[in-house]
C-alpha cells in the first residue's frame, strides 16, 4: 500500500485490475485504492507476472502493507517474490489499528452483555450470570428483568452452613418470583362456597378418638381434596416449561408456610392424594422455624395456601 499523500495512513482496496498469472509491466495501473481523498489508481513499477494477491477487495490496510507479489520477471527481475508497492514505509508506526488476523480473533458478540444494574443485582442474589441463557435488553444484553426472572426460576439459594437460611436473600428471591408471577402469568380468580358441615363433623368424630399427636387439622381436608381433584384434573398438576405443559405423574402438594422470622417456604407433601395424615405428624412443627427448612424444599407439583379457618 503506497502512501498516496503525506498524511495518508491507510487505504482500502477497491478493485484489482489484474489477476494472478497476468503479465504486468512498469507503469501499468493494477489496483484502485480508496483514501480519504478519493479513489486513486496505483501503478506498478516493475515488470513481471503477478503471482499472488495478498489483500482482498474491501480490506483496509496500513501504508506499507504488501498487496501482491510478482514473480518471474524476465531479465533483470530477481527470482524471489517482491512487493508491488514500493513506497517507503512510514518512519513511525501507522496510527490506524493493524488489520486483525482474521482467523485468530474471536467473533464479536461472544462476550455476554450484561447491564451494570443487572450485574449488581445478580451479585446480590448470588446468581451466576451463566445461568441466564438469553438477555432481553438492548443488543441481547442481560438486564434486570432477566436476572429477576432467573432468580424466581431458581431454587432458593442453599443456606450458608452456619447461619441457616439467609432470610433477606430469601425475601429477595420471593419478591422477584412473586413480582414475575403477578406480572407475567395471566391471573384468574374462582370463588366457590362449599358447605363444610359434613367435613367438620367427620373431623370431630375422627379426632375425638385419637391422641393429640394423631389428630388432623381441617386444613388436611383441603389438601386432600385438592390432591384428589388433581387426580381427576391432571392438566392442573405440573408446570409450563419451555412453552409446553409438563404434567407430573405424582401429586405433591406444596403447602405455603410462613416462617416465624420472616420468609416463606412451600414444603411438598409427597403423594398427597394417597397420604392424608402426613401434615399433622411431629415433623410438621419444623417448617415454621428456619434452621431445618432445607429438607422441605423439594418442589411441589401444585401449591395450595392459606387454609386459615381457626379462631372460629
Amino acid at each position: 500500500m503506497p502512501a498516496l499523500g503525506a498524511d495518508m495512513e491507510a487505504g482500502t482496496l477497491v478493485e484489482w485490475l489484474v489477476k494472478p498469472g497476468d503479465r504486468v509491466k512498469s507503469g501499468d495501473v493494477i489496483v484502485v485504492v480508496e483514501t480519504q481523498k478519493g479513489a486513486i489508481e496505483v501503478e506498478i513499477f516493475q515488470d513481471g507476472v503477478l503471482s499472488n494477491i495478498l489483500v482482498p477487495v474491501g480490506e483496509r490496510v496500513p501504508v506499507g502493507t504488501v498487496l501482491a507479489q510478482i514473480a518471474g520477471a524476465p531479465g533483470a527481475a530477481p527470482p524471489r517474490a517482491e512487493a508491488v508497492a514500493v513506497a517507503a514505509k512510514p518512519a513511525a508506526p501507522p496510527l490506524v489499528e493493524a488489520p486483525p488476523p482474521r482467523p485468530a480473533v474471536a467473533p464479536p458478540g461472544q462476550r455476554i452483555k450484561v447491564t451494570p444494574a443487572a450485574r449488581r443485582r445478580a451479585a446480590a442474589l448470588n446468581l451466576g450470570l451463566a445461568t441466564i441463557l438469553k438477555g432481553t435488553g438492548v443488543e441481547g444484553s442481560i438486564r434486570l428483568a432477566d436476572v429477576e426472572a432467573a432468580a424466581s426460576g431458581a431454587k432458593l439459594p442453599p443456606p450458608p452452613a452456619k447461619r441457616g437460611l439467609d432470610l433477606s436473600e430469601m425475601r429477595k428471591a420471593i419478591a422477584a418470583a412473586m413480582s414475575r408471577s403477578k406480572r407475567e402469568i395471566p391471573h384468574y380468580y374462582l370463588t366457590e362456597t362449599v358447605d363444610l358441615q359434613a367435613a367438620w363433623s367427620w373431623i370431630e368424630r375422627f379426632n375425638a378418638e385419637k391422641p393429640p399427636i394423631e389428630r388432623i387439622l381441617p386444613a388436611v381436608l383441603f389438601l386432600k381434596a385438592a390432591a384428589l381433584a388433581l387426580r381427576e384434573q391432571p392438566q392442573l398438576n405440573g408446570a409450563y416449561e419451555n412453552g409446553a405443559f409438563a404434567p407430573s405423574s405424582d401429586i405433591h402438594i406444596g403447602w405455603a408456610v410462613s416462617l416465624r422470622s420472616g420468609g416463606l417456604i412451600a414444603p411438598a407433601i409427597l403423594d398427597a392424594d394417597k397420604n392424608i395424615a402426613r401434615p399433622i405428624d411431629g415433623g410438621h412443627a419444623r417448617p415454621r422455624r428456619t434452621r431445618q427448612a432445607r429438607e422441605f424444599t423439594k418442589l411441589g407439583t401444585h401449591v395450595a395456601h392459606d387454609h386459615r379457618h381457626e379462631r372460629r
Partner: protein
C-alpha cells in the same frame, strides 16, 4: 403443680414452638394465638406437647378453653387434680 408452675410450663412449651416469643408479654387474659402468632398447626403442636409432658389428652372440643393463658392454666390445673 401450682398455677405458677403450670403457667411457666405452658410458656416453655410455646417457646419451643415460637422460639422468638417473649413470654413476658403474655397476660392471663390475652389470646395466646394472637400474642405469639400461633396458627392452627402451632396450636395443635402445643396440645401435643402438653400431652407428651404431663399426659393430659385435651379433647378437641375443649381447645377453646385453652386459648388464653389464664384459661389454659385453669384447665390444666383442674385436669391434673382429677
Amino acid at each position: 403443680m401450682t398455677d405458677t408452675e403450670i403457667r411457666a410450663l405452658i410458656l416453655e412449651l410455646i417457646r419451643d414452638i415460637a422460639p422468638e416469643a417473649d413470654p413476658a408479654v403474655a397476660r392471663d387474659q390475652d389470646d395466646l394465638r394472637e400474642v405469639f402468632d400461633l396458627d392452627s398447626m402451632d396450636f395443635a403442636n402445643l396440645i401435643v406437647a402438653i400431652h407428651d409432658r404431663i399426659k393430659i389428652a385435651i379433647p378437641e372440643v375443649d381447645y377453646n378453653k385453652l386459648f388464653t393463658l389464664g384459661g389454659a392454666t385453669a384447665y390444666l390445673r383442674d385436669a391434673l387434680s382429677q
